[in-house]
Amino acid sequence: MSLLELEDVTMSFGGLTAVEGASFAVNPGEVFALVGPNGAGKSTIFNLVSRYCTPGGGDIRFEGKSILGCAPHDIPRLGIARTFQNIELFEHATVLQNLLIGRHTHRRSNAISEILHLPGVRAEERRHRLAAEKVIDFLDLQPYRESLIMGLPYGVRKIVELGRALAVEPKLLLLDEPASGLSAEETDDVAFWIEDIRKVMGITVLMVEHDMGLVRSVSDRVLALADGKTLVIGTPQEVQTDPAVIEAYIGLGDDGADE
């Protein structure tokens, strides 16, 4: 059974159709990439899957069940975590605190035992702290553990956001342009981490990415979109050589395929 399924999903804003009849399925354990020129509908699909918007038609299923009845805050409980194109972190908190907020859905204690700091609370605290430290080690964030987000450079913030999503311990990770704004070396790190996230942590990844180099190196399958319509789904190689994709990129002259 596929982990995430979109069936004939349509979304329009006013008169503009952002996504038209999108249907695809993401299998457990794969890295699935959405590519396409600006305005193709990639981010809209992301926002639909994370329940930020509700589609005009069609169905979205996670582990076989429709999620259209869920609120955005139910999404992490289902096992879906996401990052944002424009980095949405808790600016006045430290890196560690940001990761710990990622553990929110896993917390069980009640307010009174928390204020009294009972032993059960301490044990739980240790467990979450350990989970956060594991993420810190994995992403090499040790030097920034206690730094406030607002003082950190862009590249580090980007990684902290990835770390916060990992702290949720999701089954499906949605990465919105994980390499945008990163240097070549940082992008290589991201590629390396995505491999490990899939192989070691067993997390399925759905990502939007412009950097075709990264898409080629990490994804199993790629869906190319243009003007809200699905052009082709296939391996990175197949998609890159597809005439309709080349047409969409070069024909529109909108966004270079090889950035």
Binding site: A93, L100, T105, A111
Partner: protein, 291 residues
């Protein structure tokens, strides 16, 4: 000795301002709404308690009335959020300001219609009792105000820093979008913030009404509390309390040493001064953005 007495009564007043400001900052931090009805919620909370406990009305025991009033006003805050404020999401901040100003008028009118416009005192066990500390005569009400404020602020601080709900509130105040995807029900958190804010306002109202008197216009104290919140740096809980204390302490000293007529202006002069020297408030968390 006289200065010390002025200081204590100033601190007690300042605590009341601080508590109103605390409710104001709670809402501002979590939802970015400026609640100009905070002072009126304080007044309403005081009148509800007074209506429950004063002999003239329901004559319930004081210690039974207090939790009932806190609960009722918490529910009032909660309902305000889910019926009115929630509909304003996406509207400009000024729209919310106008809404809460109007809400203040309505609360004042209702309080006047039910309890009349004459100043009344809360019949509480702490009113009118004096305690002596080595020659210093303090009203038990003033001591109670200071103690209750310390305890309440401490509890709020612990609650914010260490509970799941408190962390959810902090997260919501810093980034609503991200909070959603951490699994935080942002809307329910906002409603709970208004509930909490109603409770804190009522605590302030009960303290104010037992150490003096209240009438429907007492809600205008909210203006001083707003000044306190700004002095402390909008968005900082300890700052709100500090701002309240600054204004509270300045007042009696100004009344004693500055010509009558000018003394009432002094707290606002301080507000202006703070805004000029440190525009983001004494304990603000806002720093210049790096470019």
């Amino acid at each position: 000795m006289e200065s010390l007495q002025l200081l204590v009564s100033g601190l007690a007043n300042g605590c009341v301002y601080g508590l109103i400001a605390l409710g104001f900052v709670l809402i501002y931090k979590a939802t970015e709404a400026l609640n100009f009805a905070q002072g009126d919620m304080m007044m309403l909370g005081a009148f509800v308690t007074l209506g429950l406990t004063n002999d003239h009305y329901w004559a319930l025991p004081f210690w039974a009335s207090v939790p009932i009033a806190l609960l009722l006003m918490g529910a009032f805050g909660y309902v305000l959020e889910i019926t009115l404020l929630r509909r304003m999401s996406g509207q400009s901040q000024i729209a919310v300001v106008v809404l809460t100003v109007a809400l203040g008028f309505i609360i004042r009118f209702i309080a006047g219609a039910i309890w009349g416009h004459e100043p009344q005192s809360l019949e509480s066990p702490i009113a009118g009792v004096n305690v002596r500390f080595s020659g210093l005569v303090l009203g038990l009400d003033e001591v109670a105000v200071i103690l209750v404020t310390i305890v309440l602020t401490g509890l709020l601080y612990l609650g914010f820093a260490h509970t799941r709900l408190g962390l959810a509130m902090q997260a919501t105040s810093q980034n609503q979008l991200a909070a959603y995807y951490m699994g935080i029900p942002v809307k329910r958190v906002s409603a709970l913030i208004w509930c909490l804010s109603g409770i804190v306002a009522t605590a302030a109202g009960i303290l104010l009404a037992s150490k003096g008197s209240i009438d429907p216009n007492s809600g205008f104290l909210g203006i001083k509390a707003f000044a306190a919140a700004v002095i402390g740096g909008l968005g900082s809980l300890p700052g709100a309390l500090l701002g309240g204390l600054v204004i509270g302490v300045i007042e009696p000293f100004a009344a004693r040493h500055v010509a009558a007529g000018f003394s009432q202006v002094v707290p606002y002069a301080v507000l202006l001064l703070v805004l000029i020297i440190r525009p983001s408030g004494i304990l603000s968390q806002v720093r210049d953005k790096k470019v």
